[in-house]
């Protein structure tokens, strides 16, 4: 529906407000009302992937080195990852701007 890249006119909406491109929720920016941001300390991180498993959105994915960096496009700052991290490698940091 409403992508970050331009809202559609009412004339362009699908019949019955159907979504005919499945999976397009990934285009929706859900990370714009966060007040706290999770940050990972790579020195503590054991690459266990618990943050990836517990994140209710799609913030975490595995990189080439095996770490799980955040994609803040979807991060609402819920803090579940920081709570669940077994080695306390994730801390919630205040968003300043």
């Amino acid at each position: 529906m409403a992508k970050e890249t331009g809202i559609k006119s009412w004339k362009e909406l699908n019949f019955g407000i159907a979504i005919t491109t499945p999976g397009n929720a990934s285009e929706l920016k859900t990370g714009d009302w966060r007040s706290m941001r999770p940050e990972t300390n790579k020195e503590k991180c054991t690459k266990c992937g618990q943050c990836y498993i517990f994140c209710p959105d799609m913030v975490y994915s595995k990189d080439a080195e095996g770490y799980y960096p955040q994609n803040y496009y979807w991060c609402k700052g819920c803090g579940i990852c920081a709570k669940e991290c077994p080695v306390d490698a994730i801390t919630m940091v205040q968003e300043v701007d």
Binding site: M1, F15, G16, I17, A18, T20, P22
Partner: protein, 393 residues
Amino acid sequence: MSKKIGIEVSIACAEAAGLCDVDVVAAYPITPQTHIVEHLSEMVADGHLDAEFVPVESEHSAMSACIGSSAAGARTFTSTCSQGYALMSELCYIAASLRLPIVMAVANRALSAPINIWNDHADLMYARDTGWVQIIAENGQEVVDLTIQAFRIAEDPNISFPVQVNLDGFTLSHMIEPLTIPDKAEVQKYLPPFKPKFYLDPSNPMTLGAVGMPDIYTEARKAQDEAFKATLPYIEKAWDEFGKQFGRQYKPVETYKADDAETILISMGSLSETAMTAVDHLRAKGKKVGLARIRLFRPFPAEALFAAIKNAKNVIVLDRVTSFTGGHVSGPVALEVKSILWDRKCYPKLRNFLVGLGGRDTTVENFEEMLEKVAASKDDGVAPAYEFINVRE
């Protein structure tokens, strides 16, 4: 060949849905709608109708199942009334927004409290803002015809909205009348197979009923409103074609002795039959009275109603519901009429009467009383927004 038989109107309504080769019926029984779904269930059980009958556990589930089946491309029918309608109502808005052409017969009944199983238009007005097409029957033959037309109207790709066929509970639903039941081949000629624009299909996946946040909700509503605004000529076309094929013509507003009338009554549903008797009675006494019967409540046929009432000195609007406005604005039908008149700068003397609540009969004498009240009322100061008729003081 169509045949004329003596039949209970509810049974005839079910037979009409059967003639339309409905694929799915999901319904929960409630008085006075029960005979409609009971008979459909029998037709399916006896092998007379090749359809899925889903005996759901509530009206909320009934409309949920209907939304699913209609979205899958099945011709879908249900029926309810009153408290049952209230329970299913949250789904009804969704059916309209998703443009699902479900047909529902509503055997109009009062809403509680006090608990009352008899007829008025509380459920019809409860459904007013859901985005459904609302059509109102006046007698048994109209119930048969309107049920068949409802599928044609709902499934017209230019319309594609759910349609509610309203029939007064008991007054119509439980009457046995001589009715013409059309031949199935004739119905099939009138009603082409259902070809939805979109339907749920695993090989072509899509999402129906997603979240619409503040940045898209207004656009979604505007699109639905524009689509609904465009439906009226196609509804009339469906009626015209029915008239040509079956010889019975329907219009959004139908009049009776209205052309030279000084006073026009505005009514809906089976009460219009009594109103016509009252018009005859009052005409015999020299009163120039006429009647405008609203057949289509949503979309509201403003131009047709205005054409019927614009030359009248007095307009009497009947509402069959208590809408608890606070006393200073009128009942729902009168609100529509006032809006039409105001927009066209036409200001007859208008009075709104609340009648026929919870099965209370409205008689010819009641119409005489209304006429006397209008004649006696002076246009000085603020007129009463509405008055109860036939209430014990």
